[in-house]
Every structure is written in C-alpha cells, then in structure tokens.
C-alpha cells in the first residue's frame, strides 16, 4: 500500500514537472505549425518546406510580411477588435448544427466567429489569397485544415488537412501532400454560382482533371473522405456571405 502511494506520488510529480517545463516549447511548435499550414495552403507545401529546411526564421518573416487576419461573423461582416489567432476553431465548430437540409447553421443564441487569413500578393498590392480554417469530423475523431481560395472566391488555391486519430495508412492519408494537391485549381461553385464544393469520389485512380468539383478519394477510407467533403462544403457555405460581400464591393 505504502509502495503504491509512494510510487504514484513520485511518478506523478515527475510527469507534472516534465509537462510543465516543456509547455512553452510545445506551444511555440504548434504556433509555428499554424503559420506553416496557412502559408503552405496558399503558396504550396514544397516552397514552404524548402524554406523550413534552410531556416525557420524565413517562414516567420514571410508570415509577418504577407499574412494579415480578420474575424467575420456568420453574416459576413467583420468583427472589430478581434484577432483570428484568438478564435479557437474547434470551439466555434461546437456552435454549429446540421439543419434538416443538411446545411450547417448556427445554434440559436450563439455568435459564430469565423477567422480569415489574407495573403498579400507578392508585390504587396492587394490580396492574392484568402485562407480559411476548416473543421469537421472524420471516422474516429476530429479533422481540420485550411482552405486557400484565389481572389475570385471560387478557385481552390490549395488545402491542408490534418487529423487527430484517423487510421494510419488509410484515413490519415489526408495529411499527404500528394492527396492535398488534388484539390488545386478545383472550383467551389458551378457556373450558375451555386455551391457544389469539391468532393472526394469513391475509389482512387480515375482521371478527374476535367471535373472541377471532383477529386480522387481514398481507397479504404471512405468515411474519412466523407468527413473531408462535409468539412469543405460546410465551411464554403459558412463563409459564402463574407465572400459575397467582398464580391459586391
């Protein structure tokens, strides 16, 4: 009995100490990953990885120089005095529910906050890409990522997906660069301007280069694929009011 109590105390203290002393470093790593994801979605994973290989400061500088952010409400109007970095997308996701038309809507009494990251064009004039955090549910646990759109708010510039617990080798493949690159150049809206989103199809290996709303899925990971499809469509819908307000102005 005494042995069990003593052991618990010693091991517990050791774990708490390690966890506490590494906390800041871990937070910095996650922060850096967020920057990396936002830049990779807009500018391509290869370019950012190359940069990281030479120096991580370069990535921080680039982010500092070209990325700005804002927060908009569900109606698409900007919310003043709030930084996108302060919005936790996972918490905002909990304010949503699916209505009878399978469309995500805000639960009554909740105010949704949607972060937007804007990437300035290379010459510094105007905004080249808009990057939106997206969030959803895969097979086992939450999935999330970033969706980068060109300034027509229709063409996908790039996507980044990440996950908590999808099956390695199957659903976890959504983190693979090759898979994410399938989305590049795809369109969210059809020619009539209606939201169709980009959908992973069942199976793998078909040629969808002429289909603006279809990409190859993942064999053996259909449910993760469905989760990704729902996630992209949900957030394309949620941000559409913001896009429309910009298109008009």
């Amino acid at each position: 009995m005494a042995f069990a109590i003593g052991m618990t105390l010693i091991l517990g203290t050791a774990l708490a100490f390690v966890s506490e002393s590494l906390k800041d470093k871990q937070r910095a790593e996650r922060e850096f990953e967020r920057k990396k994801f936002i830049l990779s979605a807009a500018l391509g994973t290869d370019q950012i990885n190359e940069m990281i290989a030479t120096s991580r400061d370069e990535v921080n500088d680039l982010y500092e120089k070209r990325v700005a952010n804002l927060v908009v409400g569900a109606d698409g109007t900007p919310i003043e005095g709030l930084s996108a970095d302060d919005v936790i997308v996972a918490k905002e996701y909990k304010k949503l529910q699916r209505n009878s038309d399978e469309v995500m809507e805000v639960k009554s009494g909740q105010t949704l906050r949607l972060p937007v990251y804007t990437i300035a064009s290379e010459d510094g004039e105007g905004i080249a890409y808009y990057v939106m955090p997206i969030y959803g549910f895969g097979l086992w646990d939450n999935i999330w990522g970033y969706l980068a759109l060109q300034s027509d708010f229709n063409t996908v510039q790039g996507v980044i997906f990440d996950h908590k617990g999808e099956t390695p080798g199957l659903g976890a493949r959504i983190t693979e660069q090759g898979l994410q690159e399938r989305y590049q150049g795809k369109k969210l809206n059809n020619e009539a301007g209606e939201l169709v989103s980009v959908n992973m199809q069942k199976g793998e290996g078909a040629d969808y280069s002429d289909a603006p709303h279809k990409v190859n899925g993942m064999t053996g990971a259909t449910i993760t694929g469905n989760g990704v499809n729902a996630m992209v469509k949900d957030y394309a819908g949620l941000y559409s009011d913001y896009f429309n307000s910009l298109k008009k102005s």
Binding site: M7, T8, A14, V18, Q26
Partner: protein
Amino acid sequence: MSTEALQQEEVVEEVKKSEPLFSKKNRKLVTNPLDIDNPITVQVLGICSALAVTIKLEPTIVMCMAVFFVMTLSSTIISMLRHSIPNRIRIIVQLAVVASLVAIVDQILQAYAYDVSKQLSVFVGLIITNCIVMGRLEAFALGNKPWPSFLDAAGNAFGYAAILIIVAFFRELLGSGSIFNFKVFAAMGVDYVGNGVMTNTAGACLILGLLIWAQRARNGYYEEE
C-alpha cells in the same frame, strides 16, 4: 508470443560482485539479442510497431531511440526496486513506470521533434504495450542486478532497432525511392516509380519474412518436429 523463450532466460544467474563490467556473460546479454535471440525475428515480439513505423528511416530511428530510452531506464529502475516491489502488484508497478517514461518521451518529442512526433502519432504511446519492454522486465530485470538488467535492455533495444532500421531502409528505398528523404534514384538519373506495396504495411511483412528466412538460413535453424 514465445513465452518459452522468455522463461528460459530466467535461468541467467545474478552476476557476482567481483565480475568485471564487461565480462563474457555481460557481453552476451548485449550481443545475443542482436542475432540468435533477436526480439523481433526470433521471439516475434514488438511486431506491431515494426510494421507501422518503418515507412521512412527518420521516424524509425526516432522510434528506436524512444524504445531504447524507455527500455533501459525501466529495466534499471525495476531492477533497483526488485526487492521492494510487492509481488502482487508488480505488473502494475512495471506498467506505471513504463507508462510514465513513455509519457515523458512523448512530451519531449512534441517539444523538440514535433513533425516526427506527428508522424509516429499513436505509436509512441503504444511503446507501453510493446511486448519487448514488459517481457524483459518480467523475464530479466525482476531477477537481476541493475547493471546486467541495463545491458539486457540495451541489447534488446539494439536488436529491435537493427531489424527496424533494415526494414525501414528497404521500405524507403523501394517505396519512396529515397534514403533519409534524399531521392537516391533521381540523383542517379534513374526514373524510378515508387513501389506501393512497400509504403504499405504488407511491404514490411514481406521484408520481415525475408529477413527471418535469411537469418535462419545463416544460423542453421530448423523448426522442431
């Protein structure tokens, strides 16, 4: 699991105080698991992670270091406590020590090797259930002094690492056409298309099978009737 192999090793007697640090017996503790008593190819333990983390060399080597750290420390700690651990709760004590060490490794990886720790994902946590770790604690550390226990754990960790690195080398070379993410075939000017089987778990099974075959052929092993 080959419990027989584990039980046989309990026969190893405690090393006498006057023995030199690297006596013949102690050296055997390190060298045996590398070949004739290899935890993966002979005892067939720790297969799960051998199949899962060997797609590329970099995460594999980090995984091997993590296993080495957990095994040597847990063996030494359990061996030092072996007279005071109440027999009834010894499995729980072993588990608590191993789990704490794994949690520490996981935290350190998240702080200093974030990308690799994401690639390894659940498999760092699953070191807790790696049969080699608990197997060595039960079969050796509980009945031997700290130094031989340390050597035994180190030997088994090296034996584990050797197999994983060989498997990962072939899987990365044939599956992705690279070594440590350096595109070997592209650098030689050869147009190589990665072999999909090798990036899948089945590829690890194939290589592991070939390895066991080669090892048995070399050591003249025959299945007992």
